[in-house]
Every structure is written in structure tokens, then in C-alpha cells.
């Protein structure tokens, strides 16, 4: 039981500090890491979004099909059939190159006909065939189908090596860390209000989209006539600042959702089940507003998008992921510190633990709920910004919602630290599962984790058994 006293002013200060501390921590961590990132920036093939006057008629998808031998030499492969859905197909020439004209800029699916590959050669990433790509107005779009010697199926079996195991574990930890930031908010909102927030996925997407937005359009992009101004107003801001701004926007959206939607609903006695339906409605509303404004295409951030993975102890990881993982660890440590050591965090846990008791001991429950929404949404936004490294898309959050649910349930619905533990387990389990199952099916593991967790320990790893009746 916690006994928490404090003046209204103290409360406000604590809230403001918490709210500011997190983006600040991200910023600081990213700055420390930025020389690394900046070095990578040099090799970045930055493209501007819209180039006027490009000749749309001359657009196409191009590439070279070649295999990199073990000694590093490359040998092109002729006669491989590549097709672009809705545009046409081509066969690679002697030098392995191909070009397929496309009618207009837009999203296309490029497929390599595996049957036309020579024997003993397979795709390195079979799950990236067909490959979704976006042709912009700037000109030809180059696509890459990395090949390896040995058939794909054979490769999968023979590659259960220690190296692959550790590589997958590393990627699992990456996924787990990003998931954890999304999961903590979901768990805390559940803990304090009893509400499963299905719109949490959209808070994740929102973070990615806002980061993308600030990255390209800066602070004033919203207001048309300010757009010609130089950065940071008209032009985009660096990804690091864009992330911080994205996080702040996420916090604001979280605050607004609580303040204008869910708080009034709680106060007028809308049942929890009806509130759950409201979060579903909100989720769909936001998701399709995103697609309305952002279109269905996927995009990449302006900075650090073309990084190659670097090798470290035999494990591959891009520098941006390295930095983002470190930032996630720092942020999660800050979150842990806030929850354990600050008055605000302790109040959050106390309300999660027992609302009536917390209220009776003088905690302003509504204020704590508001803080939890801000805090949780900002974390979800940061997680979205990092998930956006692969691609920024309108339904980015919804695609990971299942994983977040599995993580939160496994860890114990309502417990922040449970969400963290659950997320790491789910992340690693999903990636390791690709050792035995097709990577396209790996998210199935999340459902499996969810169901098994409910059957074996429904209260979750860190949850407590509830009283019935």
C-alpha cells in the first residue's frame, strides 16, 4: 500500500517532468549516437518526394539478377523471368539486367519466377518475393532480389546454425524492445481504467506517420503558405528531431483521446464493454483517416533509409537499428525508473493495483489516468517511429497489434513490467520460430503464445490471481 501525499503544484510539476523527460532522454541518447548515424548518412541516396516535370512515360522497374559467390565475385544470371503485376514481365539479359516499364508512378508488386532460376540458386529472402515497391515520378526504381547458392528449402534446413540462432535472437530482441514500448502503454491504460484499448495500434501508426511527416515537411508543413520556408519550418527536420516531435504528437493525441472521448464516457457511466467498442470504433476511424490522408503506399524516412547492415561478432544489424535499440533500452530504463522511483510513477502503479484504495489514499485518479494516456501514447509513438524504419505505412500499428496483445497477456494484463517481459519473449519467440516454420507464418506464434498463456497462466507471468465473486 502506498501513501502518497502532495500538493497540486507538486503533481503538476511531476507530470510535466515525466512528460518532458522521456523525449529528452530519447533526444540525448540519439545525439550521443548521432556521429555514427551521420556517417551513415553520406551513403544515403536521399530522394525528394515530388520532382515536378519528370516524364512519367519513362518510368520502370529495373534491376540486376546476380549471385554473389563465396569469394565475393559476382556472376549475373540470364533468362530469369521477372514480372510486375499489372505492368508486364521481362527476362534478364546476359548481364543479368532487366527493365520493366510501368505506366505510372505508384505501388507495384515485383515477382521473380523462382522456377526460372538455375538449379542450385535460390532466393535469400523468399518472403520478399513478390516484392512490394513504389515507383516515384523521379525515374526508374531499382529492386534487388538477393540470391544465394543452394535451394531455398535446402538452405532453411541446413542453416540451423549457431550464427543464425544468434542473429534471429538479436532480431527478436529488437522486435521485443520496440514492442515493449507499445505494450507498456496498453497495459497501464488497462491497469488504471480496466479498458483494453484497441486503438493503441493506431497510436503506434500515428507515431510513425508523424515522424515521417516532420522528417519531410518540418514544423510548418501543415500550413500551406509556410511550406516554402527553410527548415525546420518549411523543409523537413532531421529524423532525430522528427522522432521527438512524433513522440510529443503521440502524447498529445493520447491526452486528447482520454480528455475528449474516454473521460466523458467514464463519467457518464458508459459500461466498460461499450467503451471497448468505442476504442474499436476509434481504431478504425483513425486507421482509415490515416489511409485517406497518407494513401495506401508505404514510404521510408528521408534519413538513414538506405543503410546497409554492418557486421559485429558475426551478427548483422544496421546502425540505425543499433542506435534505436540502445535508445529503447535507455527509454525503458527511464520508464522503469519513473514507475519505481517517482511519485507520478508510483501513483500510476498504485492506481493499477487498486483504484479504490489509491483514491482513498488521496491520489487524484483522473489525473493519473490522464498521465498514463499521455505517457503510454508517447511511448507507443516512439515505438512506431522505430517500427517505421522498415516502412512507414498507414496500418503499421495494426500489423503488430496481435504481437502487442500476446506480449501484454503473457506478461500479465495491467502490469507495466509484465508487458516488458512479455514483449521480449514474444519478440524472440517469433523470430526463433522461423528456424522451423516459414517466416511468412511467424506471427502465428503470437497467437499460439496468447492461447497457451491463457490456458496455463491467464493472469500472466507477473500478474496476480484475481478474486472471483
Amino acid at each position: 500500500m502506498l501513501r502518497i501525499r502532495g500538493s497540486a503544484r507538486g503533481w503538476r510539476r511531476a507530470t510535466a517532468l515525466t512528460f518532458l523527460a522521456c523525449p529528452a532522454a530519447v533526444g540525448a541518447a540519439l545525439m550521443l549516437a548521432s556521429p555514427v548515424s551521420a556517417a551513415a548518412d553520406g551513403s544515403d541516396t536521399t530522394t525528394s518526394t515530388v520532382a515536378d516535370g519528370a516524364d512519367a512515360a519513362g518510368l520502370g522497374v529495373v534491376g540486376t539478377i546476380e549471385i554473389v559467390k563465396a569469394d565475393g565475385s559476382k556472376s549475373p544470371i540470364a533468362g530469369v523471368v521477372i514480372s510486375v503485376v499489372g505492368a508486364g514481365e521481362a527476362t534478364t539479359a546476359e548481364d543479368g539486367s532487366f527493365r520493366i516499364p510501368v505506366p505510372a508512378p505508384g505501388d507495384y508488386e515485383v515477382e521473380l519466377d523462382v522456377a526460372t532460376l538455375p538449379d542450385g540458386v535460390g532466393l535469400k529472402a523468399p518472403d520478399r518475393n513478390p516484392l512490394a515497391t513504389t515507383v516515384s515520378q523521379d525515374g526508374d526504381k531499382r529492386v534487388i532480389f538477393p540470391l544465394i547458392e543452394g535451394d531455398t528449402v535446402v538452405t532453411t534446413e541446413s542453416s540451423v546454425s549457431a550464427r543464425r540462432f544468434f542473429q534471429l535472437t538479436l532480431e527478436g530482441l529488437k522486435l521485443g524492445l520496440y514492442l515493449a514500448m507499445a505494450a507498456i502503454g496498453l497495459s497501464l491504460i488497462f491497469g488504471t481504467t480496466g479498458l483494453v484499448n484497441f486503438a493503441h495500434a493506431e497510436l503506434v501508426s500515428f507515431g510513425a506517420l508523424m515522424t515521417y511527416f516532420f522528417n519531410f515537411y518540418g514544423l510548418a508543413g501543415v500550413i500551406g503558405f509556410l511550406a516554402p520556408l527553410p527548415g525546420p519550418f518549411g523543409d523537413g527536420v532531421n529524423f532525430i528531431f522528427a522522432t521527438i516531435l512524433g513522440m510529443l504528437s503521440g502524447g498529445v493525441l493520447g491526452w486528447a483521446m482520454n480528455r475528449w472521448v474516454f473521460r466523458p464516457a467514464r463519467h457518464s457511466g458508459v459500461s466498460l464493454l461499450a467503451q471497448m467498442l468505442m476504442t474499436i470504433g476509434g481504431s478504425i476511424l483513425l486507421r482509415y483517416v490515416f489511409v485517406y490522408l497518407f494513401t495506401g503506399k508505404f514510404r521510408t524516412y528521408r534519413d538513414y533509409s538506405a543503410q546497409r547492415a554492418s557486421t559485429f561478432l558475426g551478427l548483422e544489424l544496421t546502425q540505425k537499428d543499433m542506435v534505436a535499440m540502445s535508445v529503447s533500452v535507455v527509454v525503458l530504463l527511464v520508464v522503469g525508473w519513473v514507475l519505481l522511483r517517482t511519485r507520478t510513477g508510483r501513483a500510476m502503479r498504485a492506481v493499477s493495483d487498486n483504484k479504490d484504495l489509491a483514491e482513498a489514499s488521496g491520489i487524484d485518479v483522473e489525473r493519473v489516468i490522464s498521465q498514463v494516456w499521455i505517457f503510454g501514447a508517447a511511448l507507443a509513438a516512439l515505438s512506431g517511429a522505430f517500427f517505421g524504419f522498415e516502412q512507414v505505412k498507414w496500418d503499421l500499428g495494426f500489423r503488430i497489434l496481435l504481437l502487442v496483445f500476446a506480449a501484454v497477456t503473457l506478461g500479465g494484463l495491467g502490469t507495466a513490467f509484465g508487458a516488458l517481459v512479455g514483449a521480449l519473449i514474444v519478440g524472440v519467440a517469433i523470430n526463433l520460430s522461423t528456424l522451423v516454420i516459414d517466416s511468412e507464418l511467424k506471427n502465428m506464434v503470437a497467437l499460439l503464445v496468447l492461447v497457451v498463456a491463457l490456458m496455463v497462466r491467464p493472469q500472466g507471468i507477473l500478474g496476480r490471481r484475481e478474486r472471483i465473486g
Binding site: V270, L273, G281, I284, L441, N443, L454, M455, G469
Partner: protein, 334 residues
């Protein structure tokens, strides 16, 4: 603007194939939520189970359409069991987590390359519905006109069968809910502990309800793929589930005819709005497109924005449906 065309489309949509499919799926959801209080957020998963029960039987096993009909129900029942076993002893929200997760997983697995020999992958399965259309007394390719309605012969046949099934299932559910069995379900919706204390095995009843509603959902999925003559994983998108929820809440959960009424209202609104926007004079269209980005694609997205907004507002202000009485709402909030 061609108001005659818009009116014709809208009127036809009031009784069209989509109304039947969504209403039937909503009847299943009504059994779950309206009568038993189960939060099933994966009704589209049951539709997919029904559709693939048919599709896989014909495509992979190479058996006949009529055997597929049987498997539609087998798949639906098995899915209900799998979803119910771990969740129905727990708090209501766990079912919602598992059902939404399962429905999305079914879609992903069905469209995967690994499953392509079984499910047809992303391209899906077609050429299975011929035995159904062979029975049609209507010329499949001809247009038929009845009063203000105009449909292709194949749709007329589907509509005749569909409406008969829909009304029959609705009447069946209505009868069941008036029986002591239905009374036990409603009691569980109102207060599970009270029902248990009075000797009702709540877990068993909830499982029966999940199965009945799931089977009805599977039947709806079957009707949908027969109408489209193809089984495609991506048509079983989670947003369909919530369209069905919106339909159920428009009509009012726990009322016999609400799925049909809700479905008709929903499709009338959607078809009217979309056709009106698409039929706008060219100048207005261009202006709207530059002002609010109203492209053809975005007109298509509007329906989901409306579903989301509708669900949010209905759940907040009218959980008893647009015809529900204030008294009933007061009982809910007690």
C-alpha cells in the same frame, strides 16, 4: 447528376447480396453479443472458416460442392471450440483479444505461400460454385427487373436462396431465444454469476452460443464466396468484423430483426453516399479532389471512416441501437 441511376443503385443495395451476407453474419454476432454478451471481435474469422471449409474441400481434396457444404459447418464448429476453450472461463475481454488475433491469423495463413496448394494463397480459389448456379432457374447472364430493383440472373438466384436462408435462420434464432435455453443465455449476458448460482453451467452455454453464432457466421462466409464465386483471403479483413458490429448496434443488439434492419440501413447509406459522390458533376469532383483529397480511392475509404465513427458514437450514445429505448439504456447503466 444522374439521380435515377443513384436511386436505382441505392434501392437495389437495400436488398442486395451484401445485405444478406452481412445480416446473416450479424445474426451470428447477435447470438454471441446480443443474447449471451460474448465479445467476439473475430466474426470474420468464422466467415473465413466457412468459406475455406468449402474452398479447401473442392480445391485441395477435390471433393464435391455438397461435401464442401458440410465442411463449412465443421470448420466453423472447430474454430469455435478452439477459440472458446481457453477464453470462456476468463473475463469477457480475453475472448475479444483471442478472436481478433485468430481472425487475422487465419487471413495471414490462408494467403501465405506455404499454404498455396491448400488455400490457393493470395490468389485464392475459384471455380467451385458451379453446382450451386447449375440449379438456378434464372438465366445467369440476363438482367431481371422487378419494380425498382434490377439484378443479374445469377444474383437473383443467390438472393432468393440467401434471403430464404437468412429469414429461416433468423426465425430459428428467435425461437431458440424464447426457449429455456435462450433464457439461460440471456441470464448469462445479464449476470454470469447469478446464472451459475442457479444451476446453469455458464461455460457450457457460452460454448454452445459461440458455436451456434460461429456456424451462422460460417454460413454467411459461404454465401459471400458463392456470390463472389471465389474464396480470397484478403476479403476476410478484420474491418469486416467491425462493419458487422456497427450493423448489429444500429439495429440494436438482442433484438431478433436488428441484424437485417441494421444491414439494410448500413448498405443503403453507404451505397447512396458513394454513388452520389462518384456521380458529382466533374467540376465539383475536381474541386473536392483538390480541397479534401477526395479521389476514387478515398471515396472507397469513406465507408470505413463512417464505420469507425459510427461505432464510436453508437457505443457512446446509443448502445441499445437507434431504436432502443432510453429506459433500456438506463437499466444498462444502473
Amino acid at each position: 447528376m444522374d439521380w435515377g441511376f443513384i436511386l436505382e443503385r441505392t434501392l437495389s443495395a437495400m436488398i442486395g447480396p451484401e445485405v444478406v451476407v452481412y445480416a446473416l453474419a450479424a445474426v451470428g454476432l447477435n447470438v454471441h453479443f446480443g443474447y449471451t454478451g460474448l465479445m467476439n471481435f473475430g466474426q470474420v474469422g468464422f466467415m473465413a472458416a466457412g468459406a475455406y471449409g468449402m474452398g479447401i474441400t473442392v480445391f485441395w481434396f477435390g471433393w464435391s460442392f455438397w461435401v464442401g457444404l458440410l465442411f463449412t459447418f465443421v470448420y466453423g464448429a472447430v474454430l469455435a471450440l478452439i477459440l472458446g476453450l481457453p477464453t470462456l472461463r476468463l473475463r469477457a475481454d480475453y475472448l475479444s483479444l483471442v478472436t481478433i488475433a485468430a481472425s487475422e491469423t487465419i487471413r495471414i495463413v490462408a494467403r501465405s505461400r506455404v499454404m498455396k496448394p491448400v488455400t490457393g494463397g493470395a490468389e485464392g480459389i475459384d471455380a467451385f460454385a458451379k453446382p450451386f448456379y447449375d440449379l438456378s432457374p434464372f438465366e445467369l447472364g440476363d438482367f431481371y427487373r422487378l419494380g425498382p430493383f434490377k439484378f443479374l440472373g445469377r444474383d437473383v438466384w443467390m438472393l432468393v436462396v440467401g434471403w430464404i436462408v437468412l429469414v429461416a435462420v433468423t426465425l430459428l434464432v428467435s425461437q431458440l431465444m424464447k426457449s429455456p435455453w435462450g433464457r439461460a443465455l440471456r441470464a448469462i449476458r445479464e449476470d454470469e454469476d447469478a446464472a451459475r448460482a442457479l444451476g446453469k453451467n455458464a461455460y457450457s452455454y457460452k460454448m454452445q452460443s459461440l458455436m451456434l453464432g460461429g456456424l451462422i457466421g460460417a454460413l454467411a462466409g459461404l454465401l459471400q464466396v458463392i456470390q463472389k464465386a471465389s474464396v480470397q483471403a484478403d476479403t476476410f479483413n478484420p474491418v469486416i468484423t467491425f462493419t458487422i458490429w456497427a450493423i448489429l448496434i444500429i439495429g440494436g443488439p438482442g433484438r431478433v430483426w436488428s441484424p437485417i434492419v441494421g444491414s439494410m440501413i448500413y448498405w443503403t447509406i453507404i451505397v447512396f453516399v458513394e454513388n452520389t459522390l462518384r456521380q458529382l458533376p466533374a467540376g465539383t469532383r475536381t474541386n473536392l479532389e483538390s480541397w479534401i483529397n477526395l479521389s476514387d480511392f478515398n471515396i472507397g475509404m469513406l465507408r470505413f471512416i463512417l464505420v469507425g465513427l459510427g461505432l464510436l458514437l453508437l457505443a457512446r450514445y446509443r448502445p441499445q441501437g437507434i431504436f432502443g429505448s432510453r429506459e433500456e439504456m438506463a437499466l444498462d447503466r444502473r
